[in-house]
């Protein structure tokens, strides 16, 4: 009998808050994190909205508890802030008191800092301080910096499956626990805004010049965001041993690939359907058991059609409340899955459904519409959280209320 997997700690930082409580506060106030960048050097400074964490990189050093230390990229610092909160909330003062895995997710690693010094790095005539960023080019750098700072050394990994990266990190961690390899794994992802990704999505004509409008007929793309989120996963045995406070159960999950197109989903949402369906099957639940779906809802033309079709195929006329929280946080790529997993836990803990901001008109391809109001006191027991990415990588998580 495989062990059940529980969420016992959460930490996060996004454009709408430096911690979980701050995020919840601004979700309830319907306060979007979208605006214009203050930190990114780009010609799109005043034309493409982004959801940027307000702090400068120096301030993030302070927040992360590494003031004055060198070689920390913005990606690492965001991650470290979230990691420290997750550990604190889980009541872990010494990460080595139990063999603990760390499964991180990143799409472009320390690109936020390396892209500013890259041409110096490749120029033999230049030398100086920037050389300390050479090793931050890859995705492992942020993982190792975070791990080394808090003392995680048992099993570390970094996953990169584009926008589903941290959902896959949570899944991999849960599977390590269920297989009995580890009893505690911290999973999530971190992502800083970069010129690289902004121009990447813009070159794909996937970025809206207005605040994004998920599931709206008039939507025209996503807005990028930055942030980080980690969840502490523990086996049932460890929860009993440590008397850990359980926040929710990670009851099901699924990963599927569409094998359809390098960057676009199938119009019928085959991959999204398979991921949600398989996650439900794994958790032994039926569509009727789900009260809320935190959709991927990037507001790109193709995602919302595909995901909406998949919702209709799975739930039909009884589609539960669903909303995209991307108008709050922007699309935080590798961090999105973990950020939205935390929002899903918050929905269960506080019996809430978050509104899908900026929605006006129903999409002509769909008969369903997202929830546009903040629902307090809504009975949320089971939530599906979706993350879909490039390369056809789809992931769904099923998060459930803990009932002993």
């Amino acid at each position: 009998m495989a062990e059940r997997v529980f969420i016992t700690g959460m930490g996060m930082i996004t454009a709408i808050g430096d911690n979980v409580a701050g995020n919840l506060h601004n979700l309830r106030l319907l306060r979007t994190g979208l605006g214009y960048t203050r930190h990114l050097d780009t010609i799109y400074k005043e034309t493409l909205p982004v959801a940027e964490v307000v702090h400068t990189t120096e301030q993030l050093h302070e927040l992360a508890g590494v003031a004055g230390m060198e070689g920390y990229t913005r990606t690492t610092l965001l991650g470290l802030v979230a990691m420290r909160e997750a550990l604190q909330q889980a009541g872990i003062s010494d990460v080595q008191d139990e063999p603990t895995g760390f499964i991180n997710a990143s799409t472009v690693g320390g690109m936020c800092d390396t892209e500013n010094v890259y041409f110096d790095i490749i120029n033999p005539e230049k030398s100086g301080d920037f050389l300390k960023f050479i090793d931050t080019l890859d995705c492992a750098d942020c993982t190792q910096r975070i791990a080394d700072t808090v003392g995680l050394n048992e099993h570390i990994a970094t996953i990169s499956t584009a926008c589903s990266s941290s959902a896959n990190a949570l899944m991999f961690g849960a599977r390590l626990i269920r297989a009995g390899v580890l009893r505690r794994v911290i999973c999530g992802g971190t992502e800083a805004l970069t010129r690289f990704t902004l121009n990447g999505f813009n070159s794909l004509k996937n970025i809206d010049k207005r605040p994004c409008m998920p599931f709206d007929q008039d939507r025209n793309g996503l807005n990028l965001g930055e942030g980080a989120a980690y969840l502490v996963l523990e086996s049932e045995t460890l929860v009993q041993e440590r008397q850990s406070a359980v926040l929710a159960e990670l009851r099901g999950y699924a990963n599927s690939n569409e094998a359809f197109h390098p960057t676009a989903p199938s119009p019928e949402g085959d991959g999204a359907y398979a991921a949600m369906k398989n996650a439900l099957d794994m958790g032994g639940l039926t569509p009727a058991d789900v009260q809320y779906v935190n959709v991927h809802g990037t507001a790109t033309l193709t995602n919302d059609v595909a995901e909406g079709m998949a919702l209709q195929r799975l739930f039909g006329q009884q589609t539960p409340k669903f909303s995209s929280t991307k108008p709050f946080t922007g699309h935080t790529l590798a961090a999105a899955g973990a950020i939205e997993a935390i929002y899903s836990v918050l929905a269960i803990q506080h019996q809430l459904v978050f509104p899908n901001l900026h929605f006006k008109d129903k999409m002509e391809e769909l008969y369903i519409v997202p929830e546009t109001r903040l629902l307090e006191g809504y009975p949320v027991q089971n939530v599906i959280s979706n993350s879909f990415g490039f390369g056809g990588n789809n992931a769904s998580l099923l998060i459930s209320k803990y009932e002993g």
Binding site: I156, A179, N199, G200, P262
Partner: protein, 350 residues
């Protein structure tokens, strides 16, 4: 992870002639610089010409190796696709960074951006093989392939069949230069066939792709069993010794039971001391064949599995071999990546 898995098919593109024909009959390829590059096959037999034109080098190498591995196993559609890569398509990343600057962020071609995403190769394999199952990509230096292998073992343990696991890496002139600035490569030029005679700081760079079709059950086709794997992150100098003893013990073995160790020893005087724990065991280094890169352990696994299957060490690739081992029942791989990520893998004959 408990339980063995079996290599039912495999393929490698590397700086040696590993892809086509009888690789054992091929002489060692010796380069003349500190940057070893792959011997690339004719991709047209694997990838349609119109797709090929759009694909960058890393995608061609990765996809072709995966397809050859599938062909070798006789399986058309894998049950899952899991890969590891430290750096993905460097050429595409470099190109997109430059185009952002050169075109001042305007009218950019998205292709290098798309292909620079680390899961691009996985997506292509899934697309080409119509595999809609589990798909994951690990990007963690010397633990990239290791986590892909661990994930594959978990999948088999969970009941999946025919998992395609692999790794791919490329080196570019630009990236070679970048890493030279932090002393990863030797300052003197060392041809790969003389690598082990030049013990000094740094090593030589390399690249390659290797894919494996893994299953929980053996068959007549099996190359070898992967009996276990253990990773160590930034261990103290004493740790690998005790961890090795434990690892072998868990598999009912002690050091004399190991017929051969393939070591990642790369003549880098900064980190070579870790391999001292293998003293007394029959060892062969492999990085004169493939160079150093994040996922070189996948090449070692390919090499080890080939030896176990053939019960022979390809002598032309190992001039340091004094005599063939009496048997190749238990083959250990010990590799580390610049002293940070350490891996033991145990291969066994069927």
């Amino acid at each position: 992870m408990k339980g063995k898995c079996y290599i039912q098919g495999m393929a490698a593109i590397s700086p040696q002639h590993t892809f086509e024909g009888d690789s054992s009959a091929q002489p060692m390829v010796a380069g003349s610089s500190n940057m070893l590059s792959c011997v690339e096959p004719d991709y047209r037999t694997f990838i349609p010409a119109n797709s090929l034109r759009r694909m960058s080098r890393m995608l061609k190498i990765g996809l072709t190796t995966a397809l050859k591995c599938m062909q070798d196993s006789g399986i058309a559609v894998p049950g899952a696709i899991v890969t590891g890569t430290g750096k993905g398509s460097l050429q595409d990343t470099e190109r997109f960074i430059k185009e952002i600057r050169d075109y001042e962020e305007r009218a950019l071609n998205p292709t290098p951006f798309i292909q620079s995403t680390y899961n691009a190769v996985n997506g292509l394999i899934a697309l080409q093989q119509k595999c809609t199952q589990y798909n994951n990509t690990f990007v963690h230096r010397g633990f990239s392939f290791e986590n892909a292998l661990l994930d594959s073992m978990l999948l088999l343990h969970e009941g999946a069949e025919n998992v395609l696991a692999g790794a791919f890496e490329e080196i570019t002139g630009e990236h070679f230069y970048i890493k030279s600035r932090i002393g990863q490569w030797k300052s003197e030029t060392v041809p790969n066939n003389a690598l082990h005679e030049h013990f000094s700081p740094g090593t030589i760079s390399g690249e390659g792709a290797a894919f494996f079709l893994l299953d929980a059950k053996p068959s007549d086709k099996s190359y070898a069993a992967i009996a276990g794997m253990k990773t160590l992150y930034k261990p103290s100098p004493e740790k690998p010794g005790t961890a090795l003893q434990q690892f072998l013990q868990q598999h009912g073995l002690s050091m004399p039971d190991v017929d051969l160790v393939l070591t990642g020893s790369n003549a880098d005087s900064n980190y070579d001391f870790y391999y001292d724990v293998l003293d007394g065991m029959l060892q062969l280094p492999f990085k004169h064949l493939c160079g150093e890169y994040d996922t070189a352990s996948a090449f070692a696994l390919w090499l080890g599995a080939k030896m176990v299957k053939e019960q022979q060490v390809p002598a032309q690739w190992f001039p340091m071999l004094q005599q063939q081992p009496a048997q190749l029942k238990n083959v250990l791989i010990y590799n580390h990546f610049f002293g940070e990520q350490h891996t033991f893998m145990l291969l066994q004959s069927i």
